[in-house]
Amino acid sequence: MAEETIALQAQGRDNVATVFAEGVVGGTEVVVVDAMGARTPLTVIGTIPYGHKVALRDISVGERIIKYGEEIGVASQGIRMGGHVHVHNLDSMRGRGDLEEGA
């Protein structure tokens, strides 16, 4: 198996890709493979654990995070291209009992 570090972009409009590799730290160059198989290099900022997401471009606060061509949440802080996207900077928009009146 080649030791190339792959990040899979599920759909063309996704602004994140999923990294299926270990040892991805700041400065690591990953190869983003899109749904058509096209490959683009991307330099990662910070550690990205196996199976976690990397931002494919700068994402502003309040902007939707897109994976599978669908909304998976909203950016709770600005995210730079190459940054780790997870619960620390992505808020879910569903099942938010904490935002209900009286909660």
Binding site: M1, I6, L8, A10, T18, F20, E22, P49, Y50, G51, H52, K53, I65, K67, Y68, E70, E71, I72, G73, V85, H86, V87, L90, D91, S92, M93, R94, G95, R96, G97, D98, L99, E100, G102, A103
Partner: protein
């Protein structure tokens, strides 16, 4: 005709297994049911935690679920273990199971004079039933009469990329062969329900899909917390899933691409329904495995990323692991390595072909890893109201 070798039941369906089900009508009968099942070969016990001090809709749900479990084609005969004072309708359970034409016996612990005497009488009854069904031979049956359940558990981001894609391809193939495929985990439709509703055969079915998702989300929100405190689970999040929306979009991939015919209630048993169906269930293993077995499913395909080893006593569960690292660690609990899709060594289609072949072999009688290990006693029935 694609076919398998199964045990013919009085209703004409064929089972992939030939078991005697020992069914406690209430949680208070569990120890007796367990003692009987441990003593008599060829039996399984459903050790659930419901059936009393609940309100009528739940009591009816428990009674109906237990009846559906007894009707399942993998069950050749039934022994009902009743305490005597439970809230479930053990008399109706007995009547409706007798009406299936299967051999059914019932014991009542209080009437028999206590636990020891009930275990003795139940062991006698279970032994009779086990010997009675044991001589049945497998015969050829059409794959079209199979009900296949599908589920994902202990998911991570490999699930939506590999193992659920594999199950989706197998689900499409089963539907095309005329079989019934049932998926659930309504919680894991949240954020992806519009994609499912688009595949509904009628606008009414589409509306039902939105309704069950809304009811599930409302129940979750009523606690006043961010749902992310419980779903995705801590393990899902460690595996890279950041929100219920992301988990859902990866989860529904396992339903394949065929039209969705309708929505089944939790205790519903499949009779003539063909094609792809939804069953309204939560995602947690004990409750969904029970709900899926209650559809009359002969087997389940179960996708996992982090490694969920659970099964069900009377429904073989094929484990398809999407995470290559998990597969390396937990290979002995897994039937199919879909992690090869992640590493680029195999295509989804190739792993789906391997999985389909395993499905047919399991229908024919080959054990799953889970069956061989015998890890399937944690089961339960999903109820909606309070325990009072």
């Amino acid at each position: 005709m694609a076919s398998f070798m199964g045990y013919r039941r009085p209703d004409g369906r064929h089972g992939a297994r030939n078991l005697v089900a020992v069914i406690p009508s209430v949680t208070c009968a569990n120890d007796v049911a367990q003692a009987i099942s441990r003593q008599v070969g060829g039996t399984v016990a459903y050790l659930h935690h419901q059936g009393c001090c609940q309100l009528p809709p739940d009591l009816e749900r428990v009674t109906n679920t237990l009846i559906s479990l007894g009707r399942g084609p993998n069950v050749g005969a039934v022994l009902i273990v009743s305490l005597g004072c439970e809230g479930t309708d053990h008399a109706r359970m007995h009547e409706e199971l007798l009406a299936t034409g299967k051999p059914v016996e019932v014991i009542h612990i209080q009437e028999l004079g206590g636990v020891t005497k009930a275990i003795r009488a139940g062991t006698d009854a279970a032994r009779r039933l086990a010997i009675l069904v044991s001589g049945l031979q497998r015969e050829r049956a059409d794959i079209a009469e199979v009900v296949m359940a599908i589920k994902c558990g202990a998911s991570d981001t490999t699930s939506g990329t590999a193992s659920n894609c594999v199950i989706g391809a197998v689900a499409d193939r089963m539907v095309d062969l005329g079989a019934t495929v049932v998926f659930g985990e309504t919680t894991e439709f949240i954020g992806g329900e519009h994609l499912l509703a688009r595949r509904a055969v009628t606008s009414e079915v589409g509306r039902q899909i939105y309704d069950i998702v809304d009811a599930m989300e409302t129940r979750a929100k009523s606690v006043g917390c961010d749902m992310r405190r419980g779903q995705p689970t801590p393990g899902n999040m460690a595996g890279g899933l950041s929100s219920i929306e992301e988990k859902s979009l990866g989860a529904i991939v396992k339903s394949g691409t065929r039209p969705i015919q309708g929505v089944l209630g939790y205790p519903d048993f499949v009779t003539s329904q063909k094609g792809l169906w939804i069953k309204d269930t939560p995602g947690r293993e004990p409750e969904i495995l029970t709900g899926m077995a209650a559809t009359g499913a002969q087997l389940m395909c179960f996708s996992t990323g982090l490694g969920a080893p659970q099964g069900f006593p009377s429904m073989p569960v094929i484990k398809i692991c999407g995470n290559p690292r998990t597969y390396r660690r937990m290979e002995e609990d897994m039937d199919v390595n879909a992690g090869l899709v992640i590493t680029g060594e195999r295509s989804v289609e190739e792993v789906a072909e391997e999985t389909f072949a395993k499905v047919v072999r399991v229908l024919d009688g080959e054990m799953t890893r889970n069956e061989a290990i015998g890890y399937f006693s944690a089961i339960d029935i999903h109820c909606l109201g309070p325990v009072i």
